[in-house]
Symmetry: C2
Subunit: 202 residues, 2 copies
């Protein structure tokens, strides 16, 4: 997501900080780190983001906005529910392929140390994801493309949780293959337990 690099300083700061948070976590990066990469003095950073908390809030807001834009892109296409879910998974896979964790997944572990506005932003990210997924899942079930037990909301929760967890464990293990395995099983689950090509042995 967002390979484009902005030219104004505030956006450059956000780009660098975002990567640092996704790799190291909110409490393990500093203004000095950004300063080094951007070749600008630490004090100058405070001109753009007065406090680290403000920077954190801006990071979350931008990340949510970018993610929502991607989701709308997927929704605007005329593809099937299954393909939409695959494209959703691909959003996560791309983050992992850069050896990063989802920004909000990362911040979720730091949650006890974050200021309230950041905590709220993280919760919103997950909520928005689940709303979008629920819509896609429900539409897919009505089309007959999907077939799952229970509410779309609870399958949506499973998707978000499992994808976040798979990123987490895959990174901790250095095993990207694990992520694809999990993703495949999630899709099968949404299809009623049937894999894409073969039926189960029974």
């Amino acid at each position: 997501m967002s390979a484009k690099r902005s030219s104004n300083t505030a956006d450059k700061i956000l780009d660098i900080a975002e990567k640092l948070v996704q790799v190291r976590g909110f409490n393990a990066f500093s203004y000095a780190d950004i300063s080094q990469v951007l070749k600008i003095q630490k004090a100058s950073l405070h001109h753009h983001f007065v406090t680290k908390s403000a920077l954190g809030q801006a990071l979350i807001t931008r990340y949510r906005k970018n993610f929502q834009a991607e989701l709308q892109l997927i929704e605007a296409s005329s593809e099937s529910a299954v393909v939409r879910l695959e494209r959703y998974i691909e959003l996560y896979a791309q983050v992992l392929s850069q050896n990063r964790m989802c920004l909000c997944g990362m911040l979720a572990t730091d949650i006890a140390t974050l200021p309230k506005p950041m905590r709220d932003g993280v919760a919103k990210f997950f909520a928005e994801n689940e709303v979008w997924l629920s819509r896609v899942l429900e539409a897919g079930r009505e089309e007959g493309a999907l077939e799952f037990e229970g509410s779309p909301e609870s399958v949506a929760s499973l998707f978000v949780s499992s994808l976040e967890g798979a990123m987490l464990v895959a990174r901790g293990n250095g095993q990207p293959k694990l992520f694809q395995d999990v993703a495949r099983r999630l899709l099968d689950h949404a299809r009623g337990g049937r894999p894409k090509r073969a039926r189960r042995a029974g």
Copy 2:
């Protein structure tokens, strides 16, 4: 797990540090925090764990050992594969009920900032979990109690990833219900997509 509190100082330090890591993360707690709770000077802590890295390694080793002990307890019982999986999930649920994250799940996000011995310990934790789960899953399939596509290893990965992710998201969202939903779906997945009571509508 391990409600018992040890009497020697090293173990008390580990108890306190473990909780701090599970709640705040490895980079967001300090010797000063332990000092405050244990009412002992910071310098004294270094007598027991020379460096923070050494403390971290001890934390992981003990956590793995305790977890393995729990797994052996489950295996020693003569219960069915399904019940064993339920008891496995219950290990995670208990951690979450204390508003903590799995120690190694927490450390997995911090992975880029950890010394090598700690990174290795985290990877081992996940590997051990997956080995144990794979055994239970395979045995369950042979008994006919379970019915899943693909390798036991890949279902095991799904379990670990999804449970870790569910803890993460549930904590970030303040929604413990989400965890139970995910857990239920994992069990259904291992049972071939069939929920415990009703069959799906089809």
